[in-house]
């Protein structure tokens, strides 16, 4: 449905699909990305339709290479789209700032998906700050329809300003669904020959030109179809909403029955702000509530604007009556509006007798590794190898499923993690201190996709400076956390073409350090190898190969795993439920009736590794593939 050229027809689409459709309607030539939730699906879809729709799509090694590839395409007048999550945008920071100085030729739209509440992220960074810092225009849709519509608009704007345009979306847009009325899929614009004097140079002599472009954008935004006004014109109470804030505000007002008493100015153009439009409404209002996701971005810029105009009005938002962190929803808005407008709480409809009104408490559950996940075995072994040391070793982590190793799932092994590539580099730093009396082994871990993304420079630094560390590559042959996108080690491209698999081992060996490969499912061998490698000075690399259980279970014949319940001593065993409590695979369960261990056959993927941790040998494994 994303590819149908049926202008005027409405389809139900997911936000990520709407981004794809928008790109098609914008005549996209080139698309690039590094996977990151919540927008990981966009390039996946684009890769599948690229051939059919006559454009190019690629998974890049990281977000910076992705954006720079788009800039290269733009130089020949190609329209390009780069899709990242908020962390990816931060990775691109230098490219965005310098690239903004040089500007673009063909339209370049950078889609960043923010994740309020960090549902699938380590943070809830607000991308809007990047637009301010880099002086780049930014848009944010309030609906799935607008998401689709904004992209062709952004391409046009980008070419008009000769500047990249950032489109900010949030999780609820990416994963939400809505009706999308299709537009036309146009003929693609032809490429242009790059002339002798054509330039895209990111140099400071263009700084004032960069600011000028921003003012042109502001003029453009004063009268932009993506800014809306709902409710009562000239009302004393004004809500200014950014992006999806519009929906929460309208729903809350409707719920409170005051939709005709309050004005709602919704901004789709987030930067630069259409100051004249905002002031027009601001001047009529006595109090303003700003509704936006994550930071008080609009709130602070609009407060500054009101201050400059010497307007005596109350401006509230996430600095005060709305929560400072986390995601908004209509309930949060209703509560805030009651406080803001002094509306008393209505009595509950059923005076507490209906079951729905009763609080339901769900026990907290920690995130854990899937059944059969190789990471469980890896961190089990790693922890054992490190705790054998007089001063137990320290593990530096990275971003991937294996961040759960900071929790029970991974025996609390990981003690440091900040962003992709952080593990190796931070370990490299700490590893230097071992030459000055720091007496703990230093280990870093990364996934295979992360290895290519940002780990290689850290490894080179560690080698060059001879850091005393063991780096472990958790090679599960997948970019597992974001949904199995291809990476340089998997041997396929985004468009499904075969390509040379890059060998992590060969890359590591080219550094001239000791490289070993092991299977984490061989627990004791892995423990011994880690312990022994840690005895050596300098950089050592251990590649632990075992495919992601979710992938492997699709192709590998499942072994039968069961507990011989006569052999399990239950709570009389000194193991204190080693399998279900310590090993902790979701398939290792406790049979409360019989008072002994059991296997949940539905959850079990048949890796059989739990049999190695049972001190009584009560877990049996039979058949299946290795």
């Amino acid at each position: 449905m994303t590819t149908r050229n049926e202008p005027g027809k409405t389809y139900l689409m997911q936000g990520n699909e709407a981004i794809v459709r928008g790109a098609l309607e914008g005549g996209v030539h080139f698309a690039s990305s590094y996977p990151g939730s919540p927008s990981s699906q966009v390039l996946g879809i684009m890769g599948r339709i690229a051939d059919q729709m006559g454009f190019y799509a690629e998974w890049s090694t990281n977000e910076t290479t992705a954006l720079q590839a788009c800039m290269g395409a733009s130089f020949a007048n190609a329209r390009s789209i780069c899709v990242v999550k908020q962390n990816g945008l931060l990775v691109q920071s230098d490219t965005i700032h310098c690239g903004a100085l040089g500007g673009v030729k063909g339209g370049l739209v950078l889609v960043t998906s923010d994740d309020p509440d960090a549902h699938s992220s380590t943070n809830e960074f607000d991308s809007r700050h990047m637009a301010v810092s880099a002086n780049v225009p930014m848009l944010e849709p309030s609906s799935i329809q607008e998401t689709k519509d904004m992209i062709p608009y952004a391409f046009e704007l980008s070419e008009k300003l000769q500047q990249m345009v950032i489109l900010r979306v949030t999780t609820r847009i990416c994963h939400g669904r809505g009706g999308v009325k299709l537009g036309e899929i146009p003929e693609k614009k032809p490429f242009k020959k790059i002339g002798k004097w054509d330039k895209m140079l990111g140099l400071n002599w263009l700084h004032s030109y960069l600011l000028e472009k921003l003012e042109w954008a502001r003029e453009e935004f004063e009268d932009c179809e993506f800014n809306h006004f709902d409710g009562k014109e000239g009302a004393e109470t004004l809500i200014i909403a950014g992006g999806t804030g519009r929906n929460y505000a309208l729903e809350a007002l409707d719920d409170l029955g005051i939709e005709d008493e309050v004005g709602v100015l919704s901004l789709g153009t987030l930067w630069p702000l259409p100051e004249k439009l905002i002031l027009k409404h601001l001047k009529k209002a006595k109090r303003v509530l700003i509704v936006e996701e994550v930071d008080p971005f609009l709130e602070e810029h609009i407060s500054a604007l009101a201050g400059k105009e010497k307007l005596n009005i109350d401006i509230c938002g996430r600095n005060d009556i709305l929560p400072k962190v986390g995601e908004l929803n209509p309930d949060v808005l209703i509560k805030a509006l009651r406080e803001f407008l002094g509306i008393k709480e209505e009595k509950p409809c059923c005076s507490g007798t209906c079951p729905a009104a009763e609080a339901v408490t769900i026990p907290d559950r920690e995130l854990t590794f899937c059944a059969g996940c190789p990471h469980r075995a890896t961190f089990f072994a790693l922890k054992q190898a490190l705790i054998k040391e007089k001063n137990p070793g320290v593990v530096f982590g990275d971003i991937g499923c294996y961040v759960f190793a900071a929790q029970r799932a991974g025996q609390f092994a990981v003690q440091f993690m900040s962003c992709m590539g952080s593990g190796i580099s931070a370990a490299g730093g700490l590893g230097q201190l071992t030459k000055y009396g720091f007496d703990q082994k230093v280990v870093s871990v990364c996934g295979d996709s992360t290895f290519f993304h940002t780990v290689v420079p850290g490894l080179i630094a560690a080698k060059m400076n001879n850091a005393n560390i063991l780096h472990i590559v958790l090679d599960n042959s997948a970019t597992a956390m974001t949904g199995f996108q291809p990476h340089p080690g998997t041997g396929t491209t985004c468009m499904g073409q075969p390509t040379d698999k890059l060998s992590i081992k060969a890359i590591c060996e080219s550094l001239g350090c000791r490289v070993e490969i092991a299977d984490p499912f061989n627990l004791q061998e892995t423990i011994d190898l880690i312990f022994e490698m840690n005895r050596e000075d300098g950089l050592k690399i251990l590649i632990l190969e075992q495919p992601c259980a979710t992938l492997a279970s699709k192709t590998r014949a499942k072994k039968k795993v069961w507990v011989e319940q006569e052999l399990c001593k239950g709570d009389d065993c000194g193991c204190s439920r080693m399998c279900s409590r310590v090993w902790g695979c979701p398939a290792n369960i406790w049979d409360f009736e019989k008072g002994c261990a059991a296997i949940d056959e539905v959850v079990c993927v048949g890796c059989g590794v739990c049999a190695k941790v049972c001190p009584q040998g009560a877990i049996k494994v039979e058949g299946g593939d290795e």
Partner: protein
Amino acid sequence: MLSFREVERKVVNNDLCTNCGSCQSLCPFWKSSEGRTYAGFDCDRKEGRCKYFCPRMPADLDALRQKFFGADSESGFIPELGPVKGVYLTRAADDSIRKGAQHGGTMTALVKLALEEGFIDAAVLSKAEGTLNPEGVLVTNPADVAKCSGSSFQIPPTNAKLNEALIADEYKKIGLVGTACKTLAAYKMKAKPFAENDNNADNIGMVFGLFCGWGLDWQGMAKLGEAKHVDILPSKFHRMDMDDKQVDLDEVLPLVRENCKYCYDMTAEFADLSVGGARSAEGWDVDKGWNQLIVRSEKGAELVKLAKEKGVLEFRDFGGKGEAGAIEKLVAASKSKRAKAVKAIVEKTGSKDDLTYLTPNKDSFKAYL
């Protein structure tokens, strides 16, 4: 507090752990590596065997002694030496045994005899390749006992092997040879702290104690290098001999296990019999190559009697003041160890009321406070 956590806090993290191995082979959690005991994972038991078997967890040692050796008035109890039924100067009659021994080979000869004569049906011993990689081993063939002669001067987790053998329940009269920390733990096991799980403690047949001044840190020993035969000479020599190499004791003492500083027991007071280097009034030149043997229990006396009858052991006169003189020397040495231990413990805790594992027996150590 969780059982393992209590042991971890009071013993392991408090530098009291001797690495005796008594907490090991009972569960998948306690392990030992390079002379260091550690909990690989967290166990969630409130009451575990580790806590009750550990020789450095507080327990009333006076009551334990009286339980197994009878009233002090009957057992020949000497405050500094424990139960004493007799003291002898001995050595193995078989000179091939003496060759591999640290002193006179008495222990090797006695354990071999005990196996041959059915006093025990298996022996848990410590074995090392020279001084490297010491470990606990289970021996059932009398001919294999001599392979475990000599001292590695480290503390392998021998009692882990004992636990393994007890739980396996294959041998019903297992002999343990160990230093004071290990033999004390064996009596703690024999006391059966858990009604529902006695750890097959009745399978402990005999306990053979080794005199011990201190053990070396695993890494410390690695620093000193490898040797086939190691011995510490009497204090006036101030040296340790490693084969032909003479090492100044000042070099060795910093490598002593921290926990050994807190040990009060030189002669392995919890044992059927204890054996160490001879210390008679005659002096080192005469005592060299001889052992001092303390018999503590009826069973110990029976075995020594048989050894004498069979000519397995040679006995030597004390000379000078006789047995009393020898005991006097031992008492003086033991007093010195007790005094140092109590001083170190008080320095550690900062309180004369907190003697860590000796707190329940505070009164017995009053003289050293």
